[in-house]
């Protein structure tokens, strides 16, 4: 048979009940799952860094620069899943040169640029400017000039210059917190404002996205911090791990409460879409929502972290537990994005049927592509850690 009919046959096998023809195959694939996931990691990691700076939490200090660099590495990749999802990826920039104020995506481009250029880049630059100057004096060969260029010519090292670095850096942090909220709240807004989709359309969406972003960002920093220590063969600093764990616990509680509130609201309202949504949750999304998001990603970490607040087992056990929790939480939040993006497309707008999402392996929107964009940020982070080693920064 003609491959087109073969494909139609395959697709039709996965259809249950009545759906409209254009709903058989999903238009938003795993790459669109990754987009809010990665921006969430960025916003979360950045918020952790900022809270750290604004509230001067001593125990979190070793993670400050790492959080910033992690946020930066992931931010550089945040738009890539979107771009590789496009039919014509090379035309992505057109949205930026002829933006329309009613285009949610075009505005996202500017929110993104604001955050990338004004907030993150500047904050990192002010943090490192003094070190750039020092390194440009110490290093030889090409690196000397690389650091020299990175100073942008601001070579002052006097007390006054340092004071300015700190002052402006602090100011940017303060501006940065609402910006990070804006960046990721906006992603939630994009979904929450799709009024035709009862699974998405909710004013809670931006808030839920934000808190799950913080959860994932903190988990990522925990993961990266432990990973770096492990690779550099350094002892894990237990007070730091404990205090990251504590914040993760608090934010996780808020996140869980908000998401439950959203669900309870739906259950109590039980409007016309409720029947299909409850079938969705107990059927197609059972594994990704019930098991992965709620059990693995939320309940188990909450339980363990909660236990640690009252009773502290030996360092060794806590260390392993923190590492596993960071992975669990990261997985859980990934599946939260999955449940939103994929879940919202699995049921028909007629509210009378379901389709199925088949994740391909290769291809433009397959598993490999998604994996690729998840690995790249770690590569970038490794490069940044080499170029801007936090452990070689001068302390002042």
């Amino acid at each position: 048979m003609d491959p087109r009919y073969e494909a139609l046959y395959e697709a039709l096998k996965n259809v249950h009940g009545y759906i409209y023809p254009n709903e058989i195959s999903l238009t938003w694939s795993i790459l669109i799952v990754e987009y809010p996931y990665i921006t969430g990691l960025v916003a979360g990691a950045f918020i952790l860094a900022s809270l750290n700076r604004v509230f001067k939490i001593k125990a979190l200090e070793p993670t400050y620069i790492i959080s910033l660099l992690t946020a930066f590495a992931f931010l550089l990749v945040a738009t890539m899943p979107l771009i590789s999802h496009l039919g014509k990826p090379l035309r992505f920039w057109e949205i930026m040169i002829t933006p329309h104020s009613t285009s949610a995506m075009a505005i996202f481009g500017f929110v993104y640029l604001w955050y990338l250029m004004i907030v993150l880049l500047l904050e990192i630059w002010f943090d490192y400017r003094y070190d750039f100057v020092i390194w440009s004096r110490e290093k030889k060969g090409v690196m000397k000039y690389v650091y020299k260029i990175l100073t942008l010519g601001a070579m002052g090292t006097s007390e006054k210059d340092l004071k300015w670095d700190k002052k402006i850096g602090y100011f940017i942090t303060v501006v940065g917190i609402p910006s990070a909220f804006l960046l990721h709240g906006y992603v939630g807004f994009i979904f929450g404002s799709v009024k035709a989709n009862p699974w998405w359309s909710s004013v809670m969406m931006p808030v839920i996205f934000l808190f799950s972003a913080m959860v994932s960002g903190i988990a990522l920093v925990l993961f990266v911090y432990m990973g770096i220590n492990f690779i550099r063969k350094k002892v894990q600093n237990m007070p730091t791990l404990d205090s990251i764990g504590k914040y993760l616990f608090y934010i996780l509680i808020i996140d869980f409460t908000l998401e439950s509130l959203d669900q309870i609201h739906r259950i109590y309202e039980a409007n016309e879409s409720f029947e299909i949504i409850s079938m969705l949750v107990s059927g197609k999304l059972f594994f990704t929502l019930g098991i992965m998001q709620v059990t693995v990603g939320t309940l188990i970490p909450l339980l363990i972290l909660g236990l640690f607040q009252f009773f502290k087992p030996a360092d060794k056990i806590r260390k392993i537990a923190y590492f596993i929790i960071s992975i669990f939480v990261l997985t859980g939040v990934f599946f939260m994005r999955w449940n939103v993006v994929i879940g919202g497309q699995l049921f028909s707008k007629s509210l009378h049927g379901f389709t199925t999402y088949n994740l391909g392996f290769g291809g433009q929107e397959g598993f490999l592509m998604a994996l690729f964009w998840m690995i790249i940020p770690f590569g970038i982070l490794a490069f940044l850690l080499w170029l801007l080693p936090p452990w070689k920064k001068t302390v002042h």
Binding site: Y5, L8, P21, L152, A154, D161, W164, I168
Partner: protein, 150 residues
């Protein structure tokens, strides 16, 4: 003003300058003439060759088939949904042959059983069950499918 700010201002001026130059240089010429799109897009589309000519054009030479088709359930179909665009064929039928859609799947495009299609609008058969041994047109006459070939 601290030197950091001075240097940053220079860098930002350059970056924004480049952005606006790019924006200016790459923005399509006729953009915004009538609205938030390329004005020329309308003319470009107007100038495109019309490839589907419609059943009246076929009627000039194939009036027998056109009137025969009117007697059956395919009365409302355009010839070209099955045979493909006819703009070249009507100019020179000898050299520009049209498609003869004789495969089972060709009928399946419209008649294949599909949960997303309403049975009230189009009769559906399962291609994997309905007389699988033969082509559809071995039995049905394509232009009037309720008449059968002998």
């Amino acid at each position: 003003m601290p030197q950091q700010i001075k240097k940053l201002l220079i860098v930002f001026t350059i970056v924004f300058g480049i952005f606006f130059i790019i924006k200016y240089a790459l923005k399509p010429k006729s953009f915004g003439e009538f609205g938030h799109y390329r004005g020329l897009a309308i003319i470009e589309n107007e100038n495109k060759q019309v490839k589907y000519v419609g059943i009246e054009a076929c009627n000039e030479c194939h009036d027998d088939i056109v009137s025969y088709k009117k007697e059956g359930p395919h009365v409302n179909l355009q010839c070209e949904v099955c045979h493909g665009p006819g703009y070249l064929h009507i100019q020179d039928p000898e050299t520009n042959k049209l498609i003869i859609p004789s495969k089972r799947e060709n009928c399946g495009i419209c008649h294949q059983k599909n949960a997303a299609r309403s049975e009230n609008n189009i009769t559906q058969v399962d291609l994997k069950e309905h007389n699988v041994e033969n082509k559809c047109i071995d039995c049905h006459k394509s232009h009037n499918p309720y008449e059968f070939k002998d």
